[in-house]
């Protein structure tokens, strides 16, 4: 075996080492002076010295900037260097290994049997044993997937034989307690579900096999079955039979928009784009895996959601990604971390890198997102990833296979990856989660997915298959099981290509290995399909055939290992019955009345701009490719220096057509602390505001819902879910914006013995809108001195859950509300004005209210602004009690700041007649923001540079 270390030449700077050094300093360890990183390659096989020299010189080391060495074991290096070598655990596949194998074969060397990679870190400087341990635990090693190399290790996995024996489980003899015990930590089903299964097999007069139980557990899991949303919920006198149908889906049904082509049916919701093309959109979460292994968890999260459009209709090309993250505060004290929980900063960095590395490699622009922080996300971070796909309208409906069609598995090989990922996501995290879940986490391989996308779209256009679906949570069990619901299927599990030997038939069936798709191909084209895949180095294998007996039959080497009726599998799940409870919360109100000092609004504005939620996310955005595919029209960063916060993104999906797609999101869990109803209403309003702010209109806007909640078995959690879902119905209906797809993630709680920390109920609303002419787009940066600044919408005393209260340590109770009738009128009027190109700049008012919006417009445009608070149209404010801080920082919904050229004001005001709209200020040349209060005196004057610095500084990592 050869152990090759490749390093940047000693005399040259090592950027990876410099990055590591910075991370070490962030831990508070300042005694390390220098750090460097080497790549280690372990090669096994019969390799001559000449061959190994060639491999090193021509492949592994760059002759200009790198050097290599070959040794048996990690050697000590240099004076005072602390050395640590980290490798992946057996079974965790680094995609680089496959690339190295290919590179070696291309050199004409065919005798290398296996390759394994590792990293070696060198640290120079004083480092105590304890500090060394801290660096290794907090930065270098994640024991879920990695270990420290102490001695020479084999590069290949030991070949393990799998001895077939059919495992069946004696259910009949089990009492309730034993049924629960069997379910716990394996099936995650409740007692009535376990009894339903027991009864079914009792009728059949036999015991279930392990694979049958696993199939049922996955199909009936919260993740796949959406049991909570479909349950019968009692909330006081109210009984809700299927929350999903009676709120979210009901909006779509009642609005009945002809441009909704496929909703709540396929892997993503589909709407018409221009009569020839359609677009589909799906947002998923990958929370639990990202908590345990941020990089791999997030990478497979984005990898998974990209396969949703690819598995929608007959397959859509992924054209845009969005991502929204919720983390604990980056400055959370290390000593307060619960056991088994990674620090928020590490989760943040790992998730960011995982999403960027995967999406950038696939060449899908990441154009929209948000990052929010709250201490309750420390143990349960949320990672939302979304993808929009483009497909011909004629292919937008889910396909249907015929009996006799073949089941083709295409893409990556199958390993033990993600086994029990779905069922794990349906339970709460505990300190043991790391250990239980170690097999559920994998590192994605984006190039396999890229090849799969490229070849599938070719196969689609040649009509080589009848139906496609993605292999995601639940693996083949879910994908094939769902696909064959109306026909029936036989699967021959030994045909599934494996990453390594030793998998049982059951593991093959439920493995969640990434980068796989399942197709239904007729016998007449299946060979062409497989030949096409093979020609582009994509593995495609016939693993079974569809039947007409509506049974799921699983075989392994000729043995029937599973045999379930589709009807029982898909319709046998008993409806849950759950109790919900909703009690309005009461929070302390700040009392400003006996505060004799006037508030320092200047300082408060800077503090809000510097808060984690509001501050610039440029550090993250720049590391995503938001230009690839050449379609971006409004990018995430806009303005005179390309660094202002754009409201929504716009892309032009077809390069020679003028039509555009607007993507935005709304999320504000802080309001949920007061009332989840108004939180949900605000999230919808925010997503729509952003569509309007960039020049869109409400004519063709579709919404997606992603609910992340705590344990729905607890009545208060469920009560708040009901409130939020009801708002989704009420608000979306009046805005006439249908939901087309959604997803939920429950059990986002962390058990600490007696106690349980629940995330704030979090609803992400994503909006996608069709824009007829991209040239009508508007950015939020101020454009021209002398232009007038108008505020559109009504400002109320709505500081409950606001950032202003937040920086003063309060939540309050006056949560922002939404009046969707008034809101729609307002948005329609404003979009009529933008369609006439009367609006030079537009920014929606959200976190931090008028103060933050004005500051952002100014520094993004490098032009100052003067505003008069007394001209702001006020709502229910009792004029006697109205204060400058309320007007400046209220977070009332449905409000915009717009910039209008002086010559256009008359026409603009005419169009806006009937909605609250007032000229409150002017764009000025001086680089400052000046605010005059209700009394007419200057209450705030800040330079643009101090405002921008406050906003940029926190995340300038």
């Amino acid at each position: 075996m050869f152990r090759i270390a490749v390093s940047v030449k000693n005399e040259l700077p090592d950027p990876r080492g410099a990055g590591l050094l910075k991370d070490i300093r962030d831990l508070g360890i300042t005694t390390i002076e220098r750090a460097r990183v080497s790549d280690i390659y372990l090669l096994e096989g019969i390799i001559s010295q000449g061959e190994i020299d060639r491999i090193c010189k021509e492949l592994l080391a760059d002759p200009v900037v790198q050097e290599y060495s070959i040794a048996d074991a990690p050697p000590p290096h240099g004076e005072h260097a602390h050395i640590i070598e980290v490798a992946y655990n057996p079974g965790v596949m680094d995609p680089v290994e496959e690339s190295v194998m290919k590179g070696i074969r291309d050199l004409g060397i065919t005798t290398v049997d296996s390759v394994k990679t590792a990293k070696r870190y060198f640290l120079w400087g004083e480092l105590s044993e304890q500090a060394f341990q801290t660096v290794s635990d907090k930065l270098l090693v994640n024991t879920v997937i990695q270990h420290i190399v102490t001695k020479s290790e084999a590069a290949s996995l030991p070949s393990t034989l799998y001895d077939f024996s059919l495992e069946s489980i004696d259910l009949q003899s089990l009492d309730d307690e034993a049924l629960i015990e069997l379910s716990k930590n394996r099936l995650w089903l409740n007692l009535s579900e376990m009894k339903r299964i027991q009864g079914y097999f009792s009728q059949l007069g036999r015991d279930p096999t392990d694979i049958e139980l696993e199939t049922l557990a996955q199909t009936w899991s919260e993740h796949c079955g959406h049991k909570t949303f479909k349950s019968k919920i009692k909330l006081g006198q109210l009984v809700i039979d299927n929350l999903l149908k009676s709120t979210i889906m009901r909006v779509t049904e009642e609005l009945d928009k002809p441009w909704c082509l496929s909703v709540f049916r396929d892997n993503a919701g589909v709407i018409d784009l221009d009569g020839h093309y359609a677009i589909c959109f799906k947002v998923e979460t990958h929370n639990h895996p990202s908590a345990v292994e941020p990089y791999g968890g997030a990478a497979t999260g984005i990898g998974g959601v990209i396969r949703d459009p690819l598995g929608t209709g007959l397959g859509a090309k992924p054209i845009l990604n969005t991502d929204v993250f919720c983390f604990g505060p980056p400055d959370f004290p290390y000593q307060s971390l619960p056991p088994g929980v990674l620090h928020p900063r590490r989760i943040f960095k790992g998730v960011r890198a995982g999403v960027a590395d995967y999406a950038n490699r696939l060449g899908i622009p990441t154009l929209n997102g948000a990052i929010l922080f709250d201490e309750r996300y420390v143990a349960n971070p949320l990672v939302f990833c979304g993808t929009i796909g483009l497909l011909p309208k004629s292919m937008s409906q889910q396909g249907q296979q015929q009996p006799g069609d073949l089941v083709v598995l295409a893409g990556g090989n199958t390993g033990r990856d993600g086994i029990h990922g779905v069922t794990f996501a349906s339970g709460e995290l505990t300190a043991d989660s790391e250990a239980i879940s170690s097999s559920s986490v994998q590192i994605g391989n984006p190039i396999i997915e890229k090849k799969l996308i490229d070849v599938l779209l070719k196969a689609r256009d040649r009509g080589l298959y009848r139906r496609v679906t993605d292999c995601g949570g639940g693996g083949l069990s879910s994908a094939v099981g769902e696909m064959a619901e109306d026909t029936g299927v036989r699967v021959y599990l030994e045909r599934v290509p494996l990453k390594y030997s030793g998998l049982s038939y059951s593991e093959i069936w439920i493995s969640e290995s990434q980068e796989r798709m399942v197709l239904a191909a007729p016998p007449s084209t299946v060979n062409q399909l497989i030949d096409l895949c093979t020609s582009e180095d994509v593995t495609a294998t016939v693993i079974g055939e569809f039947t007409n007996d509506r049974r799921l039959q699983l075989f392994y080497n000729g043995n029937l290992v599973g045999d379930l009726e589709m009807d029982f599998l898909h319709h046998g799940l008993p409806q849950l019955e759950r109790e919900a409870l909703w009690e309005p919360s009461q929070h302390a109100e700040p009392d400003f009345s006996d505060n004799s000092d006037p508030p320092d609004l200047h300082k408060d504005l800077l503090r809000i701009l510097s808060s984690w939620n509001v501050c610039s996310k440029e550090w993250v955005i720049r590391q995503y490719d938001h230009e690839v595919q050449g379609g971006s029209v409004l990018k995430p960063l806009v303005g005179a220096n390309n660094d202002g916060p754009g409201d929504a993104a716009i892309i032009q999906p077809i390069l020679d057509s003028d039509i555009g797609i607007i993507v935005s999101n709304g999320i504000n869990p802080k309001y949920g602390d007061i009332d989840p109803y108004w939180m949900a209403a605000s999230a919808i309003d925010e997503a729509l505001r952003q569509v309007i702010a960039v020049g869109g209109n409400l004519n063709k806007v579709a919404l997606l819902d992603n609910f992340c909640w705590g344990n729905p078995e607890k009545p208060d959690r469920l009560g708040s879910l009901v409130r939020a879902a009801q708002a989704c119905y009420d608000i979306a209906l009046l805005y006439e914006t249908p939901f087309i797809s959604g997803k939920d993630s429950f059990y986002n709680e962390y058990e600490t013995g007696e106690d349980s920390v629940c995330i704030p109920p979090t609803l992400l609303i994503s909006a996608v809108a069709v824009m007829e002419h991209v040239e009508q787009a508007i950015s939020m940066d101020c454009k021209q001195k002398g232009d007038l600044i108008y505020i559109i919408g009504t400002t109320y005393d709505e500081l409950g859950g606001s950032h202003y209260y937040g920086i003063h340590g309060f939540i309050g109770n006056s949560v922002p509300r939404v009046d969707p009738k008034k809101g729609k009128r307002l948005m329609d009027a404003l979009s009529a004005a933008t369609a006439k190109s009367l609006v030079r700049a537009c920014h929606d008012l959200s976190e931090g209210g008028l103060g933050v919006a004005a500051a952002e417009m100014s520094f993004a445009g490098e032009l100052g602004m003067v505003i008069q608070l007394r001209k702001v149209p006020l709502g229910n404010l009792n004029s006697g009690n109205t204060r400058d801080d309320i007007v400046l920082f209220s977070e009332s919904n449905t409000r915009f700041l717009v910039e209008i050229a002086p010559e256009d004001t008359h026409q603009f005001e005419e169009i806006m007649a009937g909605v609250d709209c007032a000229a409150i200020g002017e764009v000025i040349d001086a680089k400052k923001l000046e605010v005059f209060g209700l009394s007419g005196e200057s209450i705030l004057s800040a330079t643009l540079s101090e405002l921008k610095e406050a906003w940029q500084k926190p995340l300038r990592w």
Binding site: V64, D106, G363, I447, E627, V628, V638, N642, V774, D781
Partner: protein, 253 residues
């Protein structure tokens, strides 16, 4: 030559092929996106084309180092055809990952002998992948065919390994990173990766092989400009001229 044919090479991980094809089509060329395996199997023949492009992407994941595996594949398996293509006086363009591939394959080298490498593209000084717009200045005396008549450009970069490392004075520099005023010594982030001599693009001695880290295909239409909502409109994006220069040059031969 009236009918200009451009081959855009697609390998596993290539991801800028469609928009590069669009740019060449806009410039008046016929375009074929060819998988590298199709060339290896001789299903498509390089000599049928006058322009070969290696577009942006992460070929083979950019594993080991950016563009390395595709570079070896081209050098070892298609070396002769590519050499013939060069000898025939045709055009080769490498964008981003294509730059990395052309250099590491020795197709575009400081010193042509592959045993004497002095040129490479290394990790950005920032240690990060970065996507940002940069100001570029064309080297006035460069023989580069692609940059003829262009003085300056504004284009996006998106890469993690774009730092040109070479022995001083060994390259035919075609394109520099600069600031708004054309000053080429403006430092980071104007020079986004720490390239020596602020090099953004180079060519061979003939000017027919050109490679650059910025993406001209991402600025063809005016609405791709990051500040198009605040700037006076131009008919074409700055990147368009790179493609039209290539196509028009071929038309003259």
């Amino acid at each position: 030559m009236a009918n200009v044919k451009t081959l855009i090479l697609h390998a596993p991980g290539t991801n800028c092929d469609m928009e590069t094809a669009f740019a060449f089509e806009q410039a008046g060329s016929q375009v074929d996106i060819a998988h590298v395996y199709e060339l290896l199997r001789r299903q498509k023949i390089l000599s049928d084309y006058q322009i070969m492009v290696i577009p942006g992407g992460f070929t083979y994941g950019d594993d080991i180092s950016a563009g390395k595996i595709l570079a070896n594949e081209l050098r070892l398996k298609l070396g002769e055809e590519i050499q013939q293509f060069v000898d025939d006086g045709r055009l080769i363009l490498g964008i981003c990952n294509g730059f990395q591939v052309l250099v590491k394959a020795g197709i575009l080298a400081a010193v042509t002998a592959e045993t004497n490498h002095t040129l490479t593209l290394a990790s950005n000084d920032s240690g990060r992948f970065e996507c940002r717009w940069v100001y570029l200045r064309v080297h006035e005396t460069s023989p580069c065919i692609f940059t003829r008549g262009i003085g300056s450009m504004y284009l996006p970069v998106a890469h993690g390994e774009g730092k040109v490392v070479a022995a001083p004075g060994t390259l035919n520099i075609a394109l520099y990173y600069a600031d708004e005023t054309g000053n080429i010594n403006a430092g980071y982030p104007y020079n986004p990766n720490g390239s020596i001599e602020n090099i953004a693009g180079i060519c061979d001695a003939s000017g027919r092989i050109f490679a650059l880290m910025p993406h001209p295909e991402r600025f063809i239409r005016w609405t791709q400009h990051p500040q198009w909502t605040r700037e006076p409109r131009k008919e074409y994006g700055d990147g368009f001229h790179i493609f039209s220069n290539a196509v028009n040059w071929v038309k003259t031969i």
